[in-house]
Amino acid sequence: MSHRGARILRLDALARVEGEGAVHLTISDGQVTDTRLRIYEPPRFFEAFLVGRGHTEPPDITARICGICPVAYQMTACQAIEAACGVTVDGQLAELRRLLYYGEWIESQSLHIHLLHAPDFHGHHSAVELACEQREPVERGLRIKQAGNAVMELLGGRAIHPVNVRLGGFYRVPARGELAPLAEQLRRVRDDALETVRWVAGFDFPDAQLDCELLAMQESGRYAIDSGTPTALSLPDGTAPSRSAAEHRFPVAEFERHVVEEHVPYSTALRSSLDGRRHLTGSLARYAISGRWLHPTAAEAARAAGLGDPAAGEACRNPFRSIIVRAVEVVHAVEEALRIIDAYEPPPRPHVEVPPRAAEGCAATEAPRGLLYHRYAIDADGNLTLARIVPPTAQNQGAIEEDLRRLVQSRLDRPGDSPTDEELAVLCERAVRNHDPCISCSTHFLDLTVDRR
């Protein structure tokens, strides 16, 4: 983006971070021979930063990794360290944690649906254009998002980098009455959330099919968010004899044996694979693996939106339609948040003590954009000797690259004019945005280079 010799000062990025992501395509004789996605990957820095710090610090420090999903990092860090120290947080404290996490889901998914993803389906370059043309859906999205924000502010202490979370629970827990206005606000956005599902279901969806394994946490009876077992689902291509044959689970302690990361020279991120195959985490994976446990209202909205019957374990394999699944997840999160508030009784203590011991522990939870894994090793004095973070975006990298290859190839195969670089850039951005990677919230998120041979 350098403009050598330019005289005009261009403050083009009043933007926080520039050029965080890039796609490089190699096209040879009309065939896409290589797709490379470079992504922004702060966890490596944080892994090093954490070593030598106290065992109570990761929830606060890892919350800084992502402004959009700090709670996911906090919850995963807490659970991993509590696992190492042999402490279980349950009952109302666990429910409050879940409520906080639903707040983040509501906020993050609404942000992606309304401000990032929806403009793609209307040929708009930004949410600003969308807001000028369709004000009501954007207003609706902001209302829903605001309700999620309110949950995070009340329980987290504030919306960014929540400060009220600590090992073992919270610094302070709310009285029952404090949750009443929150419930009121959530009830008001129930209809907004359902209307959003109807709105996005009416978009035009290009044909596309995922070709990868899906990975999400699974817990019988619950649409897993902060609990369960890592579960992989081979995408049914018709060869698997049954659903159960296509699914396999492994204990979270064996996560790094199955999800293996490798360096790729073009990215600071480590790209990972699942038992040697590319895989996808996030809304589409959760829906396929846990859809039967969605709240009935969310399940009904999914059926009405044409996603098939989640109770029958139907998967959605078109990445463009992930916007519908996200909208369904918002309905689920609003309903579950209300359920938790309804049944809330303040726990006797705001947290349980988590004394350190020399041990290792790991945990995985469902961040809005996919499965997030943490592992820590602690010495007897409570100092961290190792931190390991596997974020969803790095796991999704291989699947996104394959999506890019397929979409660009199918455009190249279409008869008529060959696409310009600008057209390919739009297509690639859409393909990447379908998976809500961490980079999508930074400006200039994609620099595209095409190497035509």
Partner: protein, 161 residues
Amino acid sequence: MTGRVVVIGVGNPFRRDDGAGPAVVEALGGQVPEDTLLTVSDGEPGRMLGLWSGQDSVIVVETVHAHPGSPGRLHTLDAEQTARCATGPASSHGLGLGETVALAAALDRMPGELVVHAVEGEDFGLGPGLSPPVRAALPELVHRVTTAVQEAQRRLCSRTG
């Protein structure tokens, strides 16, 4: 309207110079009238709109990139200039301050008045701490923001008084 001046320091202290906004807000404690609302944000537009809609006077402190750049140089922008910094159609759906202002204008959620005080950054790598040119520019930036708060306060008082 609240009759209050709101200062929003935008940025991530773990991305070097991106932390200038929050650093200014921290330095403002005790320097500005007590009823000034000092806050920090990651700049996400929905949250920014939540912080500033319905407010009379908002001062945003940001780190910017410029081409050609001169790290440490200070800029003051009004709302219109800021909205013009929304990234052009060639870019992705950026969510910088320019887009946030444009979005707020489209949704009638602009504050009564808005000014942006910005410093050009040099290092946006991972980690805490500002680069030397930005660190050197910080006292002047704090001074400008303090003055802007006082002036805004006077305007609000004379309006209500």
